[in-house]
Structures are given as structure tokens and as C-alpha cells.
């Protein structure tokens, strides 16, 4: 409420006049002689009490009349919403935004938040609308704005639950604003019930402001004093190595809050059994590293849980991992039997791949006459194309998802290659420019492998500085190959000839290397990049992807991809993406994923189990690390940051129409009428019993 003439408030001082007179008249009584007290003694005390009451009522009426007159002359006027409230109560919309992120599980915050929400719903006046939404880093409207608060109360009682999710305030308030604006009532209040965790405030929301007229009331259930332990910075080292003997689990236990923690027990469970335990001390604000060896893990995926004991907030006490111990992938190098050679063309390949702890591959040399293996990877190392049946087998092997590397060296005749591999690969060997045999022999000049596709998965690890230099290797001879549609040149020599070509054929992949895998045509085996390059080439051929040991709550997971990777690791035939899949969440409830191609949202911490008819695997899911940090902001300040600075109605710069202004100021006339009524009442009351017949005694 504002006033046109606030100076008239000084008139309220006049209200003090009757009071002063009243007080002055109560001065110490003086003695006065009177002829007789015989009449005064006969006056009853009841009459005196009645008169006292009457005089107090008169005093009240006079004071009120003065105040109302002063108010009327001050010309009060109301804002639109106030005016509506004054002349008839306006229905309000109460939007209850309840934080159900993981941090609300700290001690009794969740219970208090629910009680606060229920109290708000219960206190809504008849005609008011009540809406309920729960938010974390997702927003869910539980009940839209409705005049029946029992719907919201029922949801608060049974329909909402604490989650493992993170916090994001901005989107929650945007959703609440949407409800408030669509409710269509004159007034909207958003009750923001949260622990006001700082991590929930995201910088990108700082420009957002609630619409004008929407009131934001924070309900703070958090506290400045807290203590929470959480496991962070988990790393699995050595899982990629052979035999999983050197796998180590490293992590740190962080202590958030204001208290030091002593004798904190940290346990490691693998496959449901506790395998190790530590007891540590942590000071507040610090983190303590822990290291667990995981020896003797069999090949495959193992559910592992790191657990810290902390009763205040239990949801982040466990850290879930799906630790994978890999078995070595078999690689077969096919050679022509040639007793004249003093060493096998796969000599350097064997040296590079058969390294116990450094390679996930195990190379076996087989002869062209040997039967082809049904699983694993093939390296066609400087061997002839073989007969047509052999080529058909190779083609079927690749189409079924197998990986084949073809090394074109001195034994590869252009005619033979073009007849055999060239029949189903878009790769041909051109005539040799120097010699009719179609291959380049060592000479004084050489070429370098300079034009390399560093963005390709094979070369991506070498893209960082000092991660590998290919130009140091000299190629004295190479096959001049030409590629057709469907082939991709991944590296070229400095003379423009393709050095490494990739061909995708249905589910499988083929790599064609235009020089020898040993030192017969180049000195690449003498270079540091030799072993990594071949390991990368084999990874590419088997379509290997780094396995993620865990996911975070809120991420999406493709069960199909996870199944395919698992199948690849186990060197199984590739899984069709349309295969039926069953996903069970940590509560053993089936998730709605009909096929492996569907994606599911990870909403709970724990192990998700993904099953198909052929295999099953696990996905570990953990709460967002930032949610464990319970550092909080000031609720009022945070709320103030979202409120619009604009006025709810009638911006100041917009002059009001005279009729509207008069309408809003009409309350002054009501005040004046009320004052007049008071004065008339005072007059009637003061003249009560003073009718003319009683005003004087006739003589």
C-alpha cells in the first residue's frame, strides 16, 4: 500500500489528544466539599463499571476516528494484487518444488522436507491451487495445479522418494514457473524445499529470472554443520594387461564438512565377497588415498564394491565397479612355407605382440596349408592368395565380423593378389614402376610414411606430441596399390602411394599394409612405434573399445553397445543389435528396453544387469561425485538471485489512467465514511441516557 499524501500521517498525532485528555483528567483527585453524599452512596458499582466501559469505548471511537481521518487524507492506494486482495481474496497457486537429490538423504533432511511440503499443502486456503514437483537433475511433476490439496498430500505420502541423482536448481524453477503461469490464479508462490547445495547452482542458469509476480519462498532443511565421507577418484590400473594379475584398484576417501573422522573402515567386495579392508583417519576437507591389489581375477567382468562406513549419508558410501579382467586375444599369422628363409616374416610381429604384460594379444604363426581358425584375428603376412576356396573362407570370416590384416611384401605377386584378394576387396596392386614384379626393391632412395590420418582410431593415440613419429621409419620398398570405392586410405607414403588401406566388409574389417611386417622392406620394426602400431591395428580389427568400469547416475546406457563389446572381448560372433535384451536395475526391476538398440537412463546407484539369450554383463552406476559435497549456499541469497526485479504489475514508467488511479484510491472515501460512522456512534453513545428529560432537573 502506498500513499499519495503521506504527510497527512502527522494528523494521526491528533489521535493522541483524547488519550492525553483522558490521562490529564486522571490527575490526583483534590478534596471538594459537597452538601451531602447521600445520593452518591446510593449509586451502585455496576453503574460505575458500566460508565467506565462506556467512556473507554468513547475514547476508542474518538481515537479510531482521528486515525481513520488522517489515513483518508493521506490517500492510500493499493497495488493491483493488493487491491484484489483487499476487495476480495484472490486464489493463489502454491507450487511445491521438493528436492529429492541424493544429498537430501543426509540425516533427517528428507523427512523434514516432506513434512514442510505437507504443511504447505495443508495450509492452502479453499480455492487455492496446489501443485507438487520433485526435482534433482531431473524434474518430475507429480501433481499439476489443482484445487484439491489432498492429491499433493497423497503424493507426498506415497508417491515421492529419494533418488541417487544430482541437483540442478535452474530447470526445477523453470518448470515450477511454468506451472505457476499456467495455473491462471492472481498470485503464485513457489516453495523451494531443498538443502541448498551449492553444486546445484549452475552458471548457465544465472541469467534466468522468474517471471514478475511470482513469489519464491525458500524452505531450508539443510545445515551449516555437516560431515560426509565419499569415495572419489577411483582408478583401475592393469585391467588391460594380460592375465589380470597386476590389476590394482586405487581410490581416495574424501572427507567433506566440518569434522575430522577417525578409524574409518574401507572395505572392498569383489563378486560379493569382502577381499580387503583398510582403516584410515581423515581430517576435514582432505582426502586419503587407498590402494587395493586385485590378484587372481579370472577373465571376465567382476562386480566390485568399495564401501566406506558413514552413517549420516549412506547413499554415497558404496562405489560400484564392473572390473574386467581380459583374456589374451588369439592372433594368427599366415605365412607361405619357405625353408630358404632364415627367419619367419612374423618374427618381429611375434616379438611385438607376445609380450606378457604389455599386450592383450597372443600371436601364433600358421602355414597356408593349415586350416583357418574360426575365431581370433588373422594376419595374412606376405603369403600368396591361395585357392578360391581359401579366399571364400576368408571372405566369410570377415563378413561374419572377423578381422584380417593383409601384409603385401615381396611374396605377393600383383596378378595373384588381384586375382585372389582383389576379387572381393576394392584394393589392387598396380604394376611395379621399377621392376616388372610389381614391387619396389631396396634402393638408395626410400619413401617415408608421412601422410597419416591422425584422427583415425588407429593413429589417434599417436596424435599427441612425442607420442610416436612415423616419419623416422624408412620404406625401401612398397607395393604400389590402388584403391577403389569402399576402401579408405589411412596413411600414404611421401610419393603419394597408399601405405595403409582400410576396408569395412559387412561386420568385419580388413587392413592392407603396403610393405613388409619385418625388416625386409623397411626399418619400421626397429622403431618405437612398431609394436604400438600393430596393437592399434589389431584393436581396430577387433573393434575394441575401452570398457567403462562405471557410469554415473543420470547417464544413458546403450545395452546393445555393451553387449557387442562384451561379445567382442569374448571373441564371440557379433551380436545383432535387434536382439531382445533384458535390463534389470539394482532393485532387480526390469527396465523398459525391448531391444539392444534401445537406450535406458541410469537412475539408481548399483549394478544394472544386461542379459540376452547368449550372454550377460554388468554396468556399475554411481551417484555424481559432486553430490557428495554438501557445502551449501545461503537460501535467501540464492532465492533473491532468481527473483525478478520487475514489479508485478503496472511498471512505474507507465502512467495509470485517471479512472484506474481513482479506482485504486477509492479506499480513502471508505475510510472517511468509517470515520464518520465512528463519530456518529461516539455521539450517540455519549448522548445515551442524556435525553432532554434527563439532562436537567426541572425547577
Amino acid at each position: 500500500m502506498n500513499f499519495v499524501n503521506p504527510l497527512f500521517f502527522l494528523g494521526i498525532l491528533a489521535a493522541a489528544v483524547p488519550i492525553l485528555l483522558h490521562l490529564i483528567k486522571r490527575e490526583h483527585a483534590r478534596k471538594m466539599e459537597f452538601p451531602t453524599l447521600m445520593f452518591l452512596r446510593r449509586i451502585s458499582r455496576k453503574t460505575i463499571r458500566y460508565q467506565k466501559l462506556r467512556h473507554l469505548l468513547l475514547l476508542l471511537l474518538r481515537v479510531l476516528a482521528f486515525i481513520l481521518i488522517a489515513l483518508a487524507f493521506a490517500r492510500p492506494y493499493l497495488e493491483k494484487s493488493q487491491a484484489s486482495a483487499a476487495f476480495g481474496r484472490v486464489a493463489s497457486t502454491h507450487v511445491i518444488a521438493l528436492d529429492n537429490s541424493m544429498s537430501m538423504g543426509y540425516r533427517d533432511r528428507w523427512e523434514r522436507a516432506r513434512e514442510a511440503a505437507a504443511e504447505i499443502a495443508r495450509s492452502a486456503s479453499p480455492g487455492d491451487k496446489v501443485a507438487l514437483l520433485e526435482f534433482s537433475d531431473r524434474v518430475s511433476i507429480k501433481t499439476p495445479a489443482t484445487t484439491d490439496p489432498n492429491e499433493a498430500l497423497a503424493e507426498i505420502e506415497d508417491g515421492i522418494e529419494l533418488t541417487d541423482r544430482g541437483t540442478h536448481y535452474g530447470q526445477a524453477l523453470k518448470a515450477a514457473e511454468g506451472i505457476a503461469l499456467s495455473a491462471g490464479t492472481g498470485k503464485s508462490i513457489i516453495y523451494w524445499i531443498s538443502d541448498f547445495q551449492k553444486s546445484g547452482w549452475i552458471a548457465e542458469d544465472q541469467e534466468f529470472r522468474l517471471s514478475a509476480g511470482i513469489e519464491l519462498r525458500p524452505v531450508d532443511v539443510g545445515s551449516e554443520d555437516f560431515s560426509n565421507l565419499a569415495i572419489r577418484d577411483v582408478r583401475v590400473e592393469g585391467s588391460d594387461a594380460i592375465a589380470a594379475e597386476n590389476i590394482r584398484l586405487k581410490a581416495s576417501v574424501a572427507c567433506f564438512g566440518t569434522q575430522d573422522r577417525r578409524n574409518v573402515r574401507v572395505k572392498l567386495f569383489v563378486d560379493g565377497r569382502m577381499v580387503s579392508e583398510r582403516t584410515i583417519d581423515i581430517s576435514r576437507g582432505e582426502s586419503r588415498g587407498i590402494d587395493f591389489p586385485l590378484p587372481g581375477l579370472a577373465a571376465g567382468v567382476h562386480p566390485a564394491v568399495l564401501e566406506v562406513q558413514d552413517p549420516d549419508l549412506t547413499r554415497d558410501n558404496r562405489f560400484y565397479l564392473a572390473v574386467e579382467a581380459r583374456d589374451k586375444t588369439p592372433v594368427y599369422a599366415v605365412e607361405n612355407p619357405d625353408p630358404r628363409r632364415r627367419r619367419s616374416p612374423s618374427y618381429f610381429l611375434a616379438k611385438a605382440l607376445n609380450v606378457d604384460n604389455l599386450s592383450p594379444y597372443r600371436l601364433t604363426v600358421i602355414s597356408l596349408q593349415d586350416p583357418l581358425p574360426e575365431r581370433g584375428l588373422l594376419i595374412w603376412n606376405n603369403a600368396t592368395g591361395g585357392n578360391e576356396a581359401m579366399q571364400r573362407k576368408l571372405r566369410d570370416f570377415v563378413r561374419a565380423g572377423g578381422g584380417l590384416a593383409v601384409v603385401v611384401a615381396d611374396s605377393s605377386q600383383p596378378a595373384d593378389f588381384n586375382r585372389s584378394f582383389g576379387s572381393w576387396l576394392p584394393v589392387k596392386i598396380a604394376a611395379a614402376p621399377a621392376e616388372s614384379r610389381g614391387r619396389v626393391r631396396p634402393a638408395e632412395d626410400y619413401v617415408l610414411l608421412t601422410d597419416v590420418r591422425m584422427d583415425h582410431p588407429i593413429f589417434r593415440p599417436f596424435s599427441k606430441p612425442h607420442s610416436g613419429v612415423f616419419s623416422s621409419a624408412r620404406f625401401f620398398g612398397h607395393a604400389r596399390i590402388s584403391v577403389g570405392p569402399g576402401a579408405e586410405v589411412l596413411a600414404r607414403f611421401d610419393n603419394g602411394d597408399p601405405g595403409l588401406v582400410s576396408v569395412n566388409l559387412e561386420k568385419g574389417r580388413v587392413l592392407v599394409f603396403a610393405s613388409s611386417a619385418d625388416d625386409a622392406s623397411n626399418d619400421l620394426p626397429m622403431k618405437a612405434v612398431y609394436a604400438p602400431l600393430w596393437q592399434q591395428m589389431l584393436r581396430y580389427l577387433e573393434d575394441y573399445r575401452e570398457r567403462r568400469f562405471w557410469f554415473n547416475v543420470g547417464e544413458t546406457l546403450s545395452p546393445g553397445n555393451l553387449i557387442k563389446e562384451t561379445a567382442a572381448r569374448r571373441a564371440l560372433a557379433r551380436v545383432d543389435g535387434s536382439e531382445a535384451v533384458v535390463v534389470l536395475d539394482p532393485m532387480r526391476q526390469r527396465q523398459p528396453a525391448a531391444t539392444a538398440a534401445d537406450e535406458i537412463e541410469l537412475s539408481r546407484a548399483g549394478f544394472y544387469e544386461i542379459r540376452t539369450m547368449k550372454l550377460s554383463t554388468l554396468a556399475a552406476v554411481n551417484p555424481l561425485p559432486k553430490e557428495s559435497d554438501l557445502v551449501r549456499g545461503n537460501a535467501e541469497e540464492m532465492a533473491a538471485g532468481w527473483i525478478s526485479s520487475e514489479r508485478a504489475a503496472f511498471p512505474p514508467q507507465e502512467p495509470l489512467p485517471a479512472a484506474e488511479r481513482d479506482k485504486r484510491q477509492r479506499i480513502w472515501s471508505l475510510l472517511l465514511i468509517a470515520a464518520m460512522l465512528f463519530l456518529i456512534s461516539e455521539l450517540m453513545l455519549s448522548n445515551f441516557h442524556l435525553t432532554p428529560g434527563e439532562s436537567a432537573i426541572k425547577k
Partner: protein, 304 residues
């Protein structure tokens, strides 16, 4: 009769009682008031048998032929009747209450002073009509008693007695008036001037004793305007003038009820007096004396 109001009179023709207090001589006061009062009348209605010649008037059939003045007939050959001022030998006793409560006055004149003026005026008036005038003052006993006489010096005696009156102590109405009534040997007129502050049955008992011997009784209850209106603005410790008892009173709170009780008692006096054929008049001492004189005069006229 007791509530008689002279509607045709103009208040300015009468002297304010407060002004009368500045005149030292009670006789002068009485003369001033009575003469002024009489001169205001159109004619004296109180003519009768008297030795003092009043006027001649033409003879009308029915007049007593003995009243014809033959000497005038001899000179003028017309019949004239000789008229004289009225004269009676009625005894009039003025009784003045001089108790302590009569010494109250809020407007510069006390009830007792007003009563003295009124007694003097009535005494003068009665003396002028050749009535025998007596005077009695009392409080809880008879203080002064001057029997009614018609002698020449009686007026001065009465006026001096009136002038000597001083406020006494408590009032014992019945006892005092019984003593008075025992002293009144001859039937006559009794005029009581008092505030009648006593128990109503005591008052009426005393009045009935006075009236019992055949006296015509006129009761003047003199009250101060403050007693009538109780218009005190502030709270005060009220002290009873006779008993010295004290009481804290907020006038605003008790005014209505006080007035109601006082009026109720006055009405009771009026009713009782009328029943016993007494005249009762309430006199506000802020008003001129004339209303009291009218009351007396009217009563006197009815008697004779």
C-alpha cells in the same frame, strides 16, 4: 403549583441574587426586591379591608351601598365607591434551615444566603400587607425563635434575626420541626426554606407536624445549580459537609445516576406535599427571587 414558572416575565427585570450579596442591608435588599416585584405587576390584586385608602371607582350595581363615599357624591353628584388596601391579621412564620449543608454555594452565593434573602423579602412583603411575621432558624435544634407579631418594629427584629443566622452543624429535620410546631400557638402560614437534606420520611414527618395544627405550609427547597446538575468536570475526593465523610467520585461516571436519584427524591417530596395539601417549590439559587415570591403570592391569594 410547586412547579410554577412565570412565563411572561422577563428575567432582566429581576435582580441577580449574586448582585444582592453586594448590598449590606438586608432590609434594603428586601425592599429593592419586593418593590421592584410589585411595580412590575399591572395592578395589585390584593385589595380588601384596610385603613389605608387605595382608590375611588364608579359604583356598579351589586356593590355594598355602605361603601359609597357620600362626600364625593355631594361634590360630584356621582356614586363612587372608596376602596382600601387589603389587610389581614395572618401570622406568617419564616423557618430557615441553617445546617452546614446550607452553606454550600458554587456560584458566589450560598444556599443559606439565598435563604436569608428570600426570608427577608417574604418578611418584608408580608409586613407590607400588615401580616404578623415571625422567624425561626434551626439546624439539629431550634437556634432562633421570634414569634409572629404585627407591631411596627417587628420587621426590623425579624430582619436582624435573619441577618444573624450563621451555618450550624448537622440537620435533624423531624426533631427540629416538631419543636417548632410546638411553639406555633396560632394557626397561620408557615414558610420553610431548606435544602431538605435528610431522610425523606424524616423530612415529611417534620413537615406534617407543622401542617398538623392547621398551618398553611409552603416549602421552598433551595438547591445550588451544582447540586442539581452535578456538572463537575474532574474527579475529586468529595467531603460531606455535615458528616465529614469522604468519597472518591468521578463525576462523569455517576452524573446520570445522581441526577436520577435527586430527581426521584424531589418528585417524592412534590407528591407527598401535594397529598398533604402543602405547597412545594424547588428553587435554584442561581435564579432571581421572584419565582419564590410568586409562589408565596399565589398561595396568599388563594387563602384570602
Amino acid at each position: 403549583m410547586s412547579t410554577f414558572q412565570p412565563p411572561a416575565l422577563q428575567a432582566t427585570r429581576f435582580i441577580d441574587p449574586l448582585t444582592l450579596t453586594r448590598i449590606a442591608s438586608l432590609e434594603l435588599i428586601a425592599r429593592t426586591v419586593v418593590e421592584g416585584f410589585i411595580s412590575g405587576l399591572h395592578r395589585s390584586p390584593h385589595l380588601g379591608f384596610s385603613v389605608n385608602f387605595a382608590e375611588y371607582r364608579p359604583y356598579r350595581p351589586g356593590d355594598d351601598i355602605r361603601k359609597i363615599d357620600w362626600q364625593v357624591y355631594g361634590r360630584t353628584d356621582k356614586f363612587f365607591v372608596k376602596e382600601f388596601e387589603g389587610e389581614t391579621n395572618t401570622g406568617i412564620h419564616l423557618i430557615l434551615d441553617c445546617s452546614r449543608s446550607m452553606s454550600y454555594g458554587s456560584r458566589g452565593i450560598t444556599k443559606l444566603e439565598y435563604g436569608q434573602f428570600l426570608a427577608a423579602c417574604l418578611g418584608y412583603f408580608a409586613f407590607k400587607q400588615r401580616d404578623a411575621v415571625g422567624f425561626i432558624s434551626y439546624d439539629d435544634r431550634v437556634v432562633e425563635y421570634i414569634p409572629a407579631r404585627g407591631s411596627i418594629g417587628q420587621l426590623n427584629t425579624v430582619l436582624h434575626a435573619v441577618e444573624r443566622v450563621r451555618p450550624g452543624e448537622k440537620t435533624d429535620f423531624a426533631k427540629s420541626l416538631i419543636h417548632v410546631s410546638e411553639r406555633l400557638r396560632r394557626r397561620g402560614m408557615v414558610i420553610l426554606i431548606s435544602d431538605l437534606y435528610d431522610a425523606p420520611d424524616q423530612v415529611m414527618n417534620g413537615l406534617r407536624h407543622l401542617a398538623f395544627r392547621g398551618n398553611d405550609l409552603i416549602v421552598f427547597q433551595v438547591l445550588d445549580p451544582a447540586e442539581l446538575q452535578f456538572d463537575f468536570p474532574d474527579a475529586a475526593q468529595f467531603v460531606d459537609m455535615e458528616t465529614r465523610a469522604e468519597m472518591h467520585v468521578i463525576p462523569d461516571f455517576v452524573r446520570q445516576e445522581y441526577r436520577r436519584l435527586l430527581k426521584s427524591q424531589i418528585n417524592e417530596y412534590e407528591r407527598e406535599c401535594r397529598k398533604d395539601r402543602m405547597d412545594f417549590a424547588l428553587i435554584d439559587i442561581s435564579q432571581p427571587l421572584d419565582s419564590a415570591l410568586f409562589t408565596y403570592l399565589t398561595r396568599r391569594e388563594q387563602l384570602y
